[in-house]
């Protein structure tokens, strides 16, 4: 069950690589949050109820519902439809995505061999998510895409931490979540400001400060 879920999580990335409508990204993001929630429900058993409740809160409520909803409203408000032409075209992006997938699975196999107590598939897919999100950040130009990609990065890291299954103290978890939440909130605030102050809302307009 968890294997299927995790493959599904990987395919969301492919979807994002191929799509060019911003709203589609947000939907993929919501899907990722939901899948993470399901993963926790299915896979994780031996943890305290408070931590469990917390994880549910984090994945389903925040990652799956609140943040996507929040971002969607921003996108609709600012009437952003499509991604502008990225540096590397859509076609090659998909090609690169498949390469990233390959690398992810190689990492998964390798991690299975190292005997370090990692869940291989979790590990591989999380690496796929992280690398893919970084690639998207570099490649895509819209600022809102960057915010979305940051969320994917966070999801990847979350998955990575699940792959290790080391329990963090609750204080840390709360802090991480708070940071994430405030971070996204700030991103959106600044995104709105940039929308106000600059005509275009892609990253090339932000190159005034240089030497």
């Amino acid at each position: 069950m968890s294997d299927i879920l995790i493959i599904l999580l990987g395919t969301t990335i492919l979807y994002i690589f191929a799509a060019s409508r911003i709203e589609a990204y947000v939907k993929a993001l919501a899907l990722q949050g939901t899948i993470l929630f399901l993963l926790i429900v299915v896979d994780i058993k031996d943890i305290s109820w408070i931590n469990f409740a917390f994880l549910i809160l984090e994945t389903l409520i925040i990652k799956g519902i609140i943040i996507p909803y929040f971002l969607l409203s921003v996108i609709r408000k600012n009437e952003i439809g499509r991604e502008v032409e990225p540096y590397i075209s859509q076609f090659y992006s998909v090609l690169i995505a498949s390469l990233i997938f390959m690398f992810g699975f190689v990492a998964a196999f390798w991690s299975a061999k190292t005997n370090a107590g990692i869940k291989p598939l979790y590990f591989g897919v999380s690496i796929i998510l992280i690398i893919a999100s970084l690639f998207l950040i570099i490649n895509r130009k819209r600022i809102i895409t960057h915010i979305l990609c940051y969320m994917i990065l966070e999801n990847g890291i979350f998955l990575l931490s699940l792959s290790v299954a080391n329990e963090m103290p609750i204080l840390v978890n709360v802090g991480v979540l708070l940071d994430l939440f405030v971070g996204i909130y700030l991103f959106v605030i600044f995104f709105n400001k940039i929308q106000e102050m600059y005509d275009g809302n892609h990253i090339d307009t932000l190159t005034e400060l240089k030497d």
């Binding site: 570099i138 090339d204 400060l209 240089k210 030497d211």
Partner: protein, 660 residues
């Protein structure tokens, strides 16, 4: 020791509290503190200088400075005397000279404050025995003199020169820091005395470090190729400061070199030879450049480079004497060098002060615009003549004595049965003669063009020089020059204890021999003086009853002439400069209409410093170009910045995987 430290503190207080007094009182306040300080400093230092021994005071500072001792030995006390009197003279001179600025409503607060700091730091440099504290006061000296150099900072070129100076000093101090860091690391202590054991085990590393020290101190002193700051900084500074820097401050570099030689002990012959060669080249480069200068202060600055070279040759000969175990040669070398330090202090300060009076009255430093000043400024002119004669190393004056000693050292080295020292000695011997001849050219040029003949331009102002505070320092210095010139054994007798530090005790005999020779020389020089007087009297009596007419200069048929047709400094030096145009590259621009009979034409020539043109500027340009290659780093594109991080991360990961 307490007395010296009290003196130092008095200088410091004088500098600091002068800030709080009115513009007119500042000079008096500073001067009185400086004068009182002399009463504390001079007796004790003369005592040590004459009677030998040393006195020490120790302060415990916290880490990383540690215990810091102040020690006054004969070598240090000589420098203390020079620095202390030099600062006092500068303070006296500045009293009137700096009025020029108060007329322009420029506050003198910074001037006297930094003058105080400069004096204090110079005094401390020569007595401090803790490497780190030494570096601190050394840097303080650089920075305070920097602020004095840029006193006229409303002129952009002054600021530029000042920065050049500051950066040169940073380059120099880098070598010192590297050197002291190594020595203190290997000896485990910051005290100078502990360095002896490290430096004297003459392995290749300690030799390298000694070379570092020589380069570092040499930068301050103005050895090539690190001399290029001198001709920039000295003209930029107010005259009193130029005199103090040129006459006193650059000598702290020499002090450092001497101190290192004392600590070094086991002198390596390669270092001695290289030092000697560099000094020789310094002397020639310095004076060759001086010959080409039109700017009075720049000329004097280059002449300082020359004199530093001569001092260096003396030290080099001293080192070679130690290498070849010949205490006579070593003694002649060191004695010549140390005497030349004193001499250069006296005549260079004198010349700068004289140049300052010229500048004060004519507002130009370009000697091609001067002329005939001997009639307007008789006192200044005579004193300047004494300085010029002395700096050219002519008999009757002090410069001759020190150069003679160095010549003798070189001549003695010819009798060592070793081919390499013979060759170096003859090079030094003829090189020193060459230097002396060019010095003669340079200073006949300065004096002849600026002070003699007719005025080349109309002077605007009424001349005034009868000012006690301007003339008294010069007269004091001129008296020292003449006394040393006529009775050299008097001055030399002060230096015996310093030589004892450098040479074994049994070389006393040689010192007496030199003294004896100098006494004979003194007699002969007096004979020479009486010859001159005798013939002048003959001339006087011969002409007494004859008709002496005063008429205009023989004009060779041309009735109408402008005073501008007189020889200028550039034309005077041209025949010589054309011989050495490879060493002193000349730029000559002729502006002439390309018609058959041009109505207006002009010619302009100036020279460039060989080392600056071929060594420093190309390298700086190269460095700048190299660094500019990376200017795309900060492009303003955020994604590019993220890529840097990712590439760096990838690099580390590959590194980890590669290097297991």
């Amino acid at each position: 020791m307490t007395a010296i430290l009290i003196g130092v503190i008095l200088f410091l207080i004088g500098g600091i509290i002068s800030i709080f007094f009115g513009e007119k009182l500042k000079k008096i306040v500073f001067l009185s503190f400086a004068a009182v300080a002399q009463f504390f400093i001079l007796p004790q230092s003369f005592n040590i200088l004459l009677n030998g021994g040393q006195t020490e005071a120790k302060f415990i500072l916290s880490d990383p400075l540690g215990a810091c001792s102040f020690r006054l030995d004969p070598l240090a006390s000589l420098f203390v005397i020079i620095i202390s009197t030099g600062s006092l003279l500068c303070a006296i001179y500045s009293g009137s000279y700096m009025k020029m600025y108060s007329y322009k409503k420029i506050s003198l607060s910074t001037y006297y404050f930094f003058l105080g700091i400069l004096s204090v730091s110079m005094l401390l440099v020569v007595i401090v025995q803790n490497a780190l504290v030494f570096l601190i006061v050394w840097e303080l000296m650089s920075i305070s003199s920097f602020f004095l150099v840029i006193f006229e900072n409303d002129k952009p070129e002054v600021l530029k020169s000042g920065l050049y100076y500051l950066i040169s000093m940073q380059v120099g101090v880098a070598f010192l820091i590297a050197g002291f860091a190594w020595v203190s690391a290997s000896s485990g202590s910051l005290d100078f005395n502990s360095f002896h054991s490290v430096l004297s085990n003459s392995n290749s590393f300690s030799n390298l470090i000694v070379a570092f020290f020589l380069i570092g101190f040499g930068t301050k002193a103005g050895f090539i190729p690190m001399h290029t700051w001198l001709p920039k900084a000295h003209p930029a500074a107010p005259t009193g400061v130029s005199a103090l820097m040129s006459g006193v401050m650059i000598k702290t570099g020499i002090y450092g070199i001497l101190r290192i030689i004392l600590l070094y002990g086991n002198i390596n012959s390669t270092i001695a030879y290289s030092f000697f060669s560099i000094s020789l080249l310094t002397a020639i480069t310095g004076i060759a450049n001086a010959a080409s200068q039109k700017d009075l202060k720049k000329l004097l600055a280059y002449s300082s480079v020359e004199n530093i070279g001569i001092i260096g040759m003396g030290i080099g000969i001293g080192m070679l004497g130690i290498v070849y175990n010949n205490s006579m040669i070593a003694m002649l070398g060191f004695l010549g060098a140390i005497l030349h330090i004193i001499n250069h202090f006296t005549f260079k300060s004198l010349l700068f002060y004289g140049g300052g009076i010229v500048y004060l009255n004519t507002h130009t430093r370009n000697i091609d615009k001067l002329g005939g000043l001997a009639k307007y400024l008789p006192m200044t002119s005579s004193l300047f003549l004494i300085g010029s004669l002395a700096i050219s190393g002519l008999p009757l004056f002090s410069g001759f004595i020190s150069e003679l000693l160095i010549y003798l050292g070189l001549a003695r080295s010819l009798s060592i049965n070793n081919l390499s020292i013979n060759i170096f000695a003859i090079l030094g011997f003829s090189g020193l003669a060459f230097t002396g001849a060019i010095a003669l050219l340079s200073f006949t040029k300065v004096y002849g063009i600026a002070f003699l003949g007719n005025a080349r331009t109309q002077y605007q102002e009424k001349f005034k020089e009868k000012d006690f505070s301007l003339l008294s320092p010069m007269i004091f210095l001129a008296v020292i020059i003449i006394i040393t010139g006529l009775f050299p054994y008097l001055t030399v007798s002060l230096l015996g204890n310093i030589l004892k530090q450098f040479l074994p005790m049994d070389s006393l005999n040689e010192f007496l021999k030199i003294q004896l020779n100098l006494q004979i020389l003194s007699g002969y020089i007096l004979i020479f003086t009486s010859f001159i007087l005798f013939f002048y009297l003959i001339r006087y009596f011969l002409l007494k009853r004859k008709r002496v007419e005063y008429f205009k200069t023989w004009d060779c048929g041309y009735q109408v002439g402008s005073s501008r047709i007189q020889y200028t400094s550039s034309s005077f030096a041209q025949p010589f400069l054309s011989l050495i145009s490879e060493i002193v590259p000349q730029n000559i621009n002729v502006n002439k209409e390309p018609v058959l009979f041009p109505k207006e034409a002009s010619i302009e020539s100036n020279s460039q410093d060989f080392f600056e043109r071929f060594l420093i500027q190309p390298n700086l340009k190269w460095l700048r170009k190299f660094l500019d290659l990376f200017s795309w780093i900060q492009s303003g594109k955020m994604q590019q910045y993220i890529i840097y991080g990712l590439i760096f991360l990838l690099f580390i990961l590959i590194w980890i995987l590669g290097v297991k």
